[in-house]
């Protein structure tokens, strides 16, 4: 099946626009596509008429151009008929926003869609979903544009069963500067399911990281999903809902009671090289890190900071996340000390974590980062920057990124305040170095690289 018209449409029909209620979901979608996106959009309503000076088509077959994507937001019982019309009119695919199917006791209606579409190899997303979001290209979310927090274009794709969770993840992606290639809310996933999008995204050139929010699989679908995952050379991050122990069906077996749903998912995901995010924070941190680096590390972390406390906290966090903070050899400590400024040279502690003290200037960070990037004793550098320290300038982000560009060893940064130190942060992020908003976030970014089998 060809998914290109679904995710990269030039022409879109919005079926179900209201002529009297501009807050109708179909109108919200029509308006945003019409006003803000580089697609050609056509409103459809069986009554015809005019909407905002545009002609409303009575049926998709009346539109004079070939339609790539139909966005369908009408009452459930009308959807099969519209789908048939789409298929007859050679529409490329559909996103069915409407609810009222399997989730509310009408699996028959949903099965009808699957049969109709399957017979014609017609791809559709949903029903009962928000649909698709591609930054700066188009989206089918029935949420007014001004209400959405909109992530920038990038290389992370995210697929979610839940529309609500998806929108919330997009907010977090935007906050943390994680760029998006594609977001899909698959709703009832009647036809296009996680595994289909996994296969599609594996071959899609804008996407480097594939993220999923998964609630559950059908019979043996989990097996097919993890087997497909092992064939894919892009990192796959999964956040699984439903972690609490499921009551054991067969109390007569230890195995059945020990191997609850979540435990099984978690271990089998790891067995197949899928990176499980245990919560939404890991989800964002893992995606951000893997969107910048696809380089596997063994987990020998070098930490650079200006505060002893930060050194200890981050060392603790590393241990909790399965990372080591090895003591730096005398040779490399000397190598760093030689390049430090005279005021820092006698007071810095360089054993790792490296504490450059509050007197440190930009050049001291660069000297330490360069040495850690060169020594084989370390395979990833965490920079804990506290920009209230007077020796740190706004240029440091870009300068440290330059160290990464030259040396090629992954570097992740923690900077405490996203707004106040914007330029410092952009110096990193625009140069492909990830920045966390917490110490633990920076540690999670390093953990993602350790857990990435295909990096």
């Amino acid at each position: 099946m060809n998914y290109a018209p679904l995710f990269n449409p030039q022409t879109v029909a919005v079926v179900g626009v209201s002529l009297s209620n501009d807050r109708h979901p179909a109108n919200v979608i029509y308006n945003k596509l019409h006003l803000r996106y580089p697609v050609k959009v056509y409103p459809v309503n069986p009554h015809g008429g005019m909407l905002h000076h545009d002609k409303v088509h009575r049926d998709i077959s009346e539109i004079p151009v070939k339609i790539d994507l139909a966005v369908i937001a009408v009452r459930a019982e009308h959807v099969p008929g519209i789908l048939e019309s789409c298929i007859r009119s050679k529409v490329g695919g559909a996103t069915i926003i409407s609810g009222g199917f399997a989730e509310s006791g009408r699996p028959d209606l949903q099965n009808r869609l699957v049969e109709l579409a399957g017979a014609s190899r017609f791809p559709f997303i949903g029903p009962n979903c928000l649909g698709i979001y591609v930054p700066n290209r188009f989206d089918t979310f029935f949420l007014p544009g001004e209400r959405l927090i909109r992530p920038d274009p990038g290389n992370v794709a995210i697929v979610s069963q839940s529309g609500g969770v998806l929108v919330d993840q997009l907010v977090k992606f935007a906050e943390q500067g994680v760029g998006l290639s594609l977001a899909v809310s698959i709703g009832n996933k009647a036809q296009i399911r996680e595994i289909d999008l996994l296969t599609y995204l594996a071959a899609e050139s804008d996407t480097r990281v594939i993220a999923f929010y998964i609630e559950g699989f059908e019979k043996n679908e989990g097996r097919r999903f993890v087997q497909a995952a092992t064939e894919i050379s892009k990192p796959i991050v999964v956040l699984k809902a439903g972690k609490t122990a499921e009551g054991s069906r067969a109390a007569s077996s230890h195995t059945a009671s020990l191997a609850g749903d979540y435990r099984v998912f978690s271990e089998i995901a790891a067995q197949h090289g899928i990176i499980e995010a245990r919560n939404e924070y890991e989800m964002v941190s893992f995606c951000e890190s893997l969107s910048c680096y696809q380089k596997s590390i063994t987990g020998k972390i070098g930490i650079i900071t200006v505060s002893g406390g930060h050194g200890v906290l981050s060392t603790d966090a590393c241990a909790e996340h399965g990372l080591q903070v090895p003591r730096l050899s005398e040779h490399w400590q000397k190598e760093i000390r030689n390049y430090l400024s005279p005021s820092v040279q006698p007071i810095a502690s360089l054993a790792n974590p490296i504490d450059l003290t509050g007197s440190a200037k930009d050049d001291d960070f660069i000297a330490a980062a360069r040495a850690l990037s060169q020594t084989p004793e370390i395979d990833c550098v965490i920079m804990l920057l506290l920009p209230y320290s007077p020796g740190i300038t706004s240029d440091l982000g870009a300068q440290l990124s330059y160290v990464y560009q030259q040396e090629g060893k992954p570097l992740v940064a923690y900077v405490p305040h996203q707004e106040k130190y914007r330029m410092l942060i952009e110096g990193f992020e625009l140069n492909n170095v990830p920045v966390a908003a917490s110490i633990e976030g920076a540690v999670m970014m390093a953990e993602a690289l350790r857990r990435c089998p295909v990096c």
Partner: protein, 230 residues
């Protein structure tokens, strides 16, 4: 692939929905998995003969299609040390519901593990390894993999247990033979995969592991609902 003999064992077990211990052990044995040299006997005299061949002390367990949980029903006697004690045990077991003989086998020592199998709704056949004993459901110290297992999968399982150090020889105790443990896990996963359409779950509990062997001391195979009673 299941042999005809294996299939026959599963067919015979349909009436009670699970496989009697001696039959379960025979099935495992056919799949190349080590079990104690057991004898299934039906009266006291046969039990005595079997015990003398095995050498005291021995383990004696009731065989009954009505008793899935033998310990709970008082159908397990371990460390039976002489003929008199054995006679008493057999007499006691005779009064248990559905008595169909006893299983007599040598005592097996070692570190207690549990090896489990389950046909998971989402992932199909899966294999579980845990530190065994009575605390198994309390500590939940387990590793799970999708079957069939590769050599790497099998070797990563004990390494992933919190109590994994116990198996590597902790404070002077002898380490468990990891080659034999991996071999057991792989053979078990292959067997489980071959009968995934007929089985719901399997407990090999305990599996006794030493420096030389991993031996399945007890086994419970529950058939899938569709296969049982059909």
């Amino acid at each position: 692939m299941l042999t005809d003999e294996m299939k026959a064992i599963l067919d015979d077990a349909r009436k009670q929905g699970w496989v009697l211990e001696p039959e379960a052990k025979r099935l495992l044995s056919l799949a190349g998995i080590d079990v104690p040299r057991f004898v299934w006997v039906h009266d006291k005299d046969q039990a005595l003969q079997a015990a003398e061949r095995a050498g005291f002390p021995i383990a004696v367990k009731v065989v009954s299609p009505d008793i899935l949980h033998k310990s709970d029903a008082g159908g397990v006697a371990v460390g039976v040390s002489d003929a008199a004690e054995l006679s008493d045990v057999v007499a006691r077991f005779r009064s248990l519901p559905g008595f169909a003989g006893v299983i007599v086998e040598p005592m097996v020592a070692g570190i207690e593990l549990i090896v489990g199998g389950k046909v998971d709704y989402q992932f199909g056949p899966i294999v579980l390894l845990g530190i065994g004993g009575t605390g198994v459901e309390i500590y939940q110290d387990i590793a799970v993999r999708m079957a069939p297992l590769s050599e790497n999968d099998a070797r990563s399982m004990p390494a992933g247990l919190k109590g994994g150090k116990l198996l590597e020889g902790y404070r002077g105790s002898r380490p468990v033979n990891m080659d034999r443990l991996a071999q057991l896990l792989i053979r078990f996963s292959t067997l489980l995969s071959a009968m995934a359409d007929r089985v719901e779950s399997i407990d090999l509990n305990p599996v006794m592991c030493t420096e030389t062997d991993c031996i399945v001391a007890d086994a419970r195979i529950l058939l899938a609902a569709a296969d049982a009673h059909s």
